[in-house]
Symmetry: C2
Subunit: 351 residues, 2 copies
């Protein structure tokens, strides 16, 4: 396969972890006879510094004409104190999601047996956890009308969903459920919100198309509790943009393996892959950032191209590295800590 991959390294540790994912992907390509052309482009604070905006048109064109996007992380402390600033890295993120049509954010949460102790939760609560969220990413309150009235003394945000938007997201969830344990949970607040009632009735209408999938409907507040109490209870969860923002982040800490969690954002024609961790400014340039989440995001990318075997060799290399202690300082537990590039090199060599 010939693959053109846009490479959006972003800010902070982004470039360092992206480098390792490139190295590992190239090793996979060499092994399986694929040809990857990497197309670097600016994003985040780096793009603001260079050209004055976080998702420049040129970057968009590179992404839109590629087969996929591999994304590092964005965010810089100089933007931290004022979320209302005119130009911010996050705006680029939202613009990118909308313009590329990345409507389904896929966020798996699973545990690595060797890392269970890192979790804030007790071992018996998380052992065996393996769930995946499908979060709607291009609609809802993020993109609805918002503004001020009464001389700025009243503010409003509109959350809006169409049946089509719910359907295409839910379809991804149902399809994933069919590949997994055939359990789907629709997370909403249908006792209060009209958008949630649309979600619920739309998903209910789709149940007949997936007779094997057991569908449950839970309120967002109940899920926020049960995720901490019994994460193993869940398999596939689908939800709207804002609920997904909160719940996927909550879920990411229960596994204890947050630094290893990859994600995908699926669009109709193009998809994006990125680690769930941030730009971690304090670690920038120190060669200490854990590249595994980005490497596993590359695995999701191969799998999304239908290259299951390619994804598997990456996952196996990561598991082997964990088992043999070839890890960065966040996972070293008093043992030897390897550098970001050393872990990347080791993984590439073990492909």
């Amino acid at each position: 396969m010939k693959l053109n991959i846009a490479l959006l390294a972003g800010d902070g540790i982004g470039p360092e972890v992206i480098d390792q994912a490139v190295k590992v992907s190239d090793a996979v390509a060499a092994k399986f006879g694929h040809e990857i052309t990497w197309k670097p482009a600016l994003t985040g604070a780096a793009a603001i510094d260079a050209v004055g905006e976080p998702y420049p048109d040129e970057t968009h064109e590179i992404c839109a004409s590629s087969d996929a996007v591999l994304f590092g992380a964005i965010g810089h402390p100089k933007f931290d104190n004022d979320p209302t600033a005119k130009v911010r890295p996050e705006q680029g993120l939202l613009k990118m999601r909308k313009k590329l049509g990345l409507f389904a954010n896929v966020r798996p949460t699973f545990v690595f047996p060797s890392l269970l102790d890192k979790s804030p939760l007790k071992k018996e609560r998380i052992e065996g956890t393996d769930l995946v969220f499908f979060r709607e990413l291009t609609s809802g309150v993020y993109f609805g009308e918002k503004g001020r009235k009464d001389d700025g003394n009243t503010a409003y945000d509109t959350n809006m969903y169409t049946k089509e938007e719910v359907t295409r997201l839910a379809k991804k969830g149902f399809e994933a459920a069919m590949q997994r344990s055939k359990k789907l949970c629709c997370v909403d607040k249908a006792n209060v919100m009209e958008t949630s009632r649309l979600w619920r009735e739309t998903v209910q209408g789709m149940e007949k198309d997936y007779p094997e999938v057991e569908v449950s409907y839970e309120f967002v507040d109940a899920v926020a509790m049960r995720l901490v109490q019994w994460p193993k209870d869940y398999d596939v969860l689908i939800t709207e943009n804002l609920f997904g923002d909160v719940l996927t982040d909550e879920a990411s800490v229960i596994s204890g393996s947050m630094g290893l969690m990859p994600s995908a954002s699926l669009g109709t024609s193009i998809s994006l892959f990125e680690p769930i961790h941030g730009s971690y400014p304090q670690a920038t340039g120190k060669n200490i950032a854990n590249p595994m989440a980005t490497v596993l995001s590359a695995a999701m990318m191969f799998e999304n191209f239908g290259l299951a075997e390619e994804g598997k060799v990456i996952r196996e290399a990561v598991n082997k590295a964990l088992a043999e202690g070839i890890v960065t300082e966040d996972l070293a537990e008093g043992g030897k800590a390897y550098g970001t590039t050393e872990v990347g090199d080791w993984l590439a060599k073990n492909i």
Copy 2:
């Protein structure tokens, strides 16, 4: 003091736990020379069954003319499968909050040393946790305009806040912070939502009035993570209605003492006190429900009347009961389990 207290027992185990709180409150009144007149009124599924709606006018009049409301729990399984049904117990709850002007929901989360093992979190993560949420309760997306367009294929909800609404809620938070560790966290999504930006700028404008309070601003997704990771980091948190719904429920499970957590909903003229647990239908009538959360809600009620000593004797009785194992089956851990009424009797006797 002469106190008129509206008594809304509600559904399921509501009446059983309310009975114990009445018993204990009467014991406190006797000890300190107060006179409580209890005014029972219908609410929840019980009210729907009796008069066709969950918060009848008559109930509202009883509440509005009382000094406080003591509330049990509402909800019945027969309403569970259809959150879109015309008449539902929750609607009564929202109507009651709005009509009584209960704008600040106060939700403490603290740990009982003897119950740390019940938490899904590791002991070292939760030991010493003592935080309190102030959730706005009468505005936001709960009460904003909502509806359908395009033949029902598009749904929308409006989240709306005024500066006054934010100010009065934040004031409660600042005041509580002054009584506690002088740390306040404003939880919002100011990088995305206009209402959040209003929240943030309003709270920022109030900082100068409370120079001793150290204020932080965190995004709701980050708080959803840190609550599980480091709940001890937090002291007072203030937030809007929907974020508060999700985060207070999430926080309630980390302590491991959910069955013991009380709450208050403060209004301008009248306030309401209730356990955070639900109506627990499966336990109804079995004399097994834990009455302690409701009893501690009565303690909050006394404290809210400025009767700190009265609140304290209740808290001490509960601590003593826990220490001596006078507990219901949920806390018995293989030891002797007492009935709901026995625990109530014991607490009343130990006032």
